[in-house]
Amino acid sequence: MTRIDLLARFCAALAASDGVAYICADRAEAHDSVVALCADGTVTLDEGHPDTAGLSDRLRLVDDPWDADVGVTGVDVAVAETGTLALSWGPGRRRSTPLVPPVHVAVVPLSRLVATYADAIDALAALDPPPTGAQFVTGPSRSGDIEMNLVKGVHGPGQVHVVLYPAGEIR
Amino acid sequence: MDNGRSETMPGTVALFVACVADLAYPGPPRACVEVLEAMGVSVELPAGQTCCGQPALNSGYPRQATTLARRWLATFARYDAVVTTSGSCLSTVHHAYPRLLHGAEREQAVALAARSWEFTQFVTDFGQGLTLRLDAEVTYHDSCHMLRTLGERSSPRELLSRIDGLTLVEMTDSGVCCGFGGTFAVKLPDVSVAMADHKLAQAGRTGARYLVSADPACLMHLQGRADVTRAGIRTRHIAELVSDALVRTEVRA
């Protein structure tokens, strides 16, 4: 499967899960998009991730994720089949960033797209040393607990934005 | 036909009546005999048959069920073909006997199950020559064991579609249990009856005059409830319906 196919599938799957995808020409434009998405809000940023490096000066950062309007992260891999983002934890990549603020923005170069959910599990299993854990997230938080009606944004973020960029892999 | 049963019509079949029919529901086996004879099949009634044993098994008495399973096998073993108007009883032969019996007896049960037909299966397989006509609007209830244990959903519908003038109006949840459930119906009668009400309500919504099924036990339960609630719909066993629809012409010798 080509990167373009993976991208198309990812965007369709993410949309089906009520997430929003943005496709940018390059890393610089992707970072511009992240800045725009964060607008005037306070931000908690995963500074330990290479794909978000360089963003910290352009965002209104706060220390405590509970005070942030937006959490900005990179991902380990993103799954085309399901629209899933896989994020492992470690120094500079905290559990709270994609979870506690009401909006999650993820930066994903196309090189991180994998075809299937099984590929993402494999990617997690291959991490050496293994992380203390990982979160797989597919779209905004939801619940069907009241009369089985879908409600968005129950505990986790109510919005998930994924900013993708070719990073030179496709033209 | 890739269901493992014979592809040529047996000339003689043994009729397996089922205890519910013997006790309170003579219509379906009688209709079955009429239809099979119209197809040119000779029907025998093995006198030694009683019950398949399912009531005991499902009440927690497998030993007693095994006694009757052995009787059933002894009664029907010498026949090349068995036909019944109770899908549920046939499912006992198919599924429960191999669990109750061992060794040669189990093999015998499996072999006999493979040459047993539920009524609609037999008529769908071999009754293409029948001329059937009946002006009626019916809805069909899939009995649980016929649908899920025998995996038989298509034969009754195929058979109904062969009746000129008949319209099948599918009800919502046609495959949902009517609430009979054997001794469940008397152990937890309120739940059983509430389930019958759900089924009758779905059947009623179709506007059909008749609720048709291939299991006398479901129909006994549903009709019993319909009589009390004065639900407008009437129940009819599919063999009776097909018998009603028989246009008696000279069928092949």
Binding site: S143, D145, M148, V154 | C51, D190
Partner: protein, 507 residues
């Protein structure tokens, strides 16, 4: 309640945060409990007989509406069977679960070794009481006052919330459905949808009582109310308690599958995390998640995957900015090590999707509480009698019409209908001296002979007119149950078919 000052605090602990009461449960005392006793969070010690409970359940005002909702859900989830790609996962999932059960202790030993190497403290609890002791011990040792909890059916088996509260520890359920039933002092009525039995209006009224003010009544509004209240508790709780969906033996990874994100909160925000799993939740390999997670999600909610899968290897390491300092894993037995040795082993293949409950027409008709047990529906009717701490509920296998829908709905192909039949036999064998047993023996003897069978038919033919419905309703025996709400079958026709057949023969 122990004096907090006497409890030694581990040196690694940060300064104890200010004592907080739960925000989510504020006003709980205002809620007037209206549920019947058999729906209570703590199951009464003496359960009424099933016919009584189920009758009462049928009379509950919301039962019919629940039936309608669940029937719609069942049509959506189970009409048309398994699509081919999921059917393939079902075959593989069924095999993975059986592979697990063939060497359950071996997999648990591997899991334990791996988890301990990852810094997890592993506890084995033979009984629910043992588990309660372990968990309250962890709470005391760490001066825990407020616990946030994400869904765990295993903790329901031990009535953990009540025990923690007795110890002065406040516990807040954070799954929206669990929060609803907690506020209503009920227990979950469904494995994955704890409040499936409640209408939006009921939830709205409940939250208004809790808040002592008018609230907007759309599902979004009610969820937002719960979200706001629960967020404060996530932020300030001392300890998180969660269940586990899958525990991978090869890596020690604990996986939780949710949609709301509450499990992520519970496992990441408090300084201590206790994960509770019944022993069968172990799976051989992390890679098996690629099969089991999509299978679970499809069976439970028809999603490809839920919004969140939380995979936990251990507590936070040096240099990590957040996460719990302690991660405990409590592995509950409660009779499972006996189950796995016996003929009902496969019931432990269950991955708790709740689809057999949705698929069960009896469950849809009476609701989950009417089973009077922690687990309702077909899986509950099989599992409950087998658990070690079951004092009542061994008769649950009879609360089924044996329609077989649960087997078709099971993502790991547990032969629930056969097990229900076999458990009925176990129940009857264990209740010695019942007249029922003699009646069945007599029945088998009579119907093992054509003459006895004919005699029954004659008796039925004669008894029919003698016992009209009005009389039968008052007599003991099966006729009474039948006559409750149904016209009697026409037993005057007993034997009529055979007479007809014989008479026409010479024709």
């Amino acid at each position: 309640m122990p004096d907090a000052a006497e409890v030694p605090t581990p040196e690694s602990s940060p300064p104890t945060p200010p004592r907080r009461r739960s925000t989510a449960l504020l006003g709980r005392e205002r809620v007037v409990v209206t549920r019947p006793d058999w729906a209570a969070a703590t199951i009464p010690a003496h359960r009424k007989p099933l016919p009584i409970i189920t009758r009462a359940a049928l009379d509950q005002p919301g039962t019919a509406a629940t039936h309608t909702r669940l029937s719609g859900k069942n049509r959506e989830q189970n009409d048309g069977g398994w699509p081919p790609e999921i059917a393939a996962l079902r075959e593989r999932g069924a095999e993975i679960r059986r592979e697990t059960l063939r060497d359950l202790e071996g997999h648990l030993a591997a899991l334990t070794a791996k988890a301990e190497a990852n810094g997890v403290v592993v506890h084995r609890a033979a009984t629910p009481d043992d588990a309660v002791g372990i968990i309250t011990g962890i709470a005391r040792a760490n001066d825990v006052r407020l616990v946030v909890k994400s869904k765990s059916m295993a903790t329901e088996e031990m009535h953990l919330n009540a025990h923690l509260e007795e110890n002065g520890i406040e516990v807040v359920e954070t799954d929206l459905g669990e929060y609803i039933v907690q506020v209503a002092d009920e227990r979950p009525s469904h494995i994955v949808g704890p409040a499936l039995h409640k209408s939006k209006a009921e939830v709205g009224a409940l939250f208004e009582e809790l808040a002592a003010e008018r609230l907007p009544q759309e599902a979004e509004d009610l969820a937002a109310f719960a979200r706001t209240r629960l967020r404060a508790d996530f932020h300030h709780a001392d300890m998180g308690i969660s269940g586990v969906n899958f525990a991978a033996a090869d890596t020690g990874t604990l996986t939780l599958v949710t949609n709301e994100g509450n499990a992520d909160m519970v496992t990441s925000q408090p300084r201590i995390h206790v994960a509770v799993m019944p022993m069968e939740k172990v799976i051989p390999r992390l890679r098996d998640l690629a099969v089991l997670v999509p299978l679970l999600c499809y069976a439970a909610t028809k999603q490809k995957v839920t919004v969140y899968q939380t995979m936990l290897n251990g507590p936070r390491r040096d240099g990590e900015p957040d996460g719990p300092e302690q991660l405990h894993l409590v592995i509950l037995d409660n009779g499972r090590s006996s189950i796995v040795e016996g003929r009902y082993r496969e019931v432990l293949a269950c991955i708790r999707c709740g689809n057999c409950q949705i698929a069960c027409p009896v469950y849809r008709t009476v609701g989950g509480h009417a089973y009077g047990s922690v687990y309702g529906g077909p899986i509950g009717a099989v599992l409950t009698p087998l658990l070690a701490n079951t004092k009542q509920g061994r008769d649950l296998p009879f609360l089924s019409s044996l329609c077989g829908a649960c087997f078709d709905a099971c993502p790991v192909k547990i032969p629930l209908p056969d097990m229900l039949v076999d458990l009925r036999a176990d129940y009857e064998a264990a209740t010695r001296g019942r007249p029922r047993r003699w009646l069945w023996r007599l029945w088998a003897k009579a119907w093992d002979s054509p003459r006895g069978y004919r005699l029954t038919m004659t008796a039925a033919r004669l008894a029919g007119p003698l016992l009209p419905r009005a009389v039968l309703r008052r007599l003991p025996g099966p006729g009474r149950g039948w006559a409750a709400g149904r016209a009697l079958p026409a037993t005057r026709d007993a034997g009529a078919f055979r007479a007809w057949f014989t008479d026409r023969r010479p024709r």
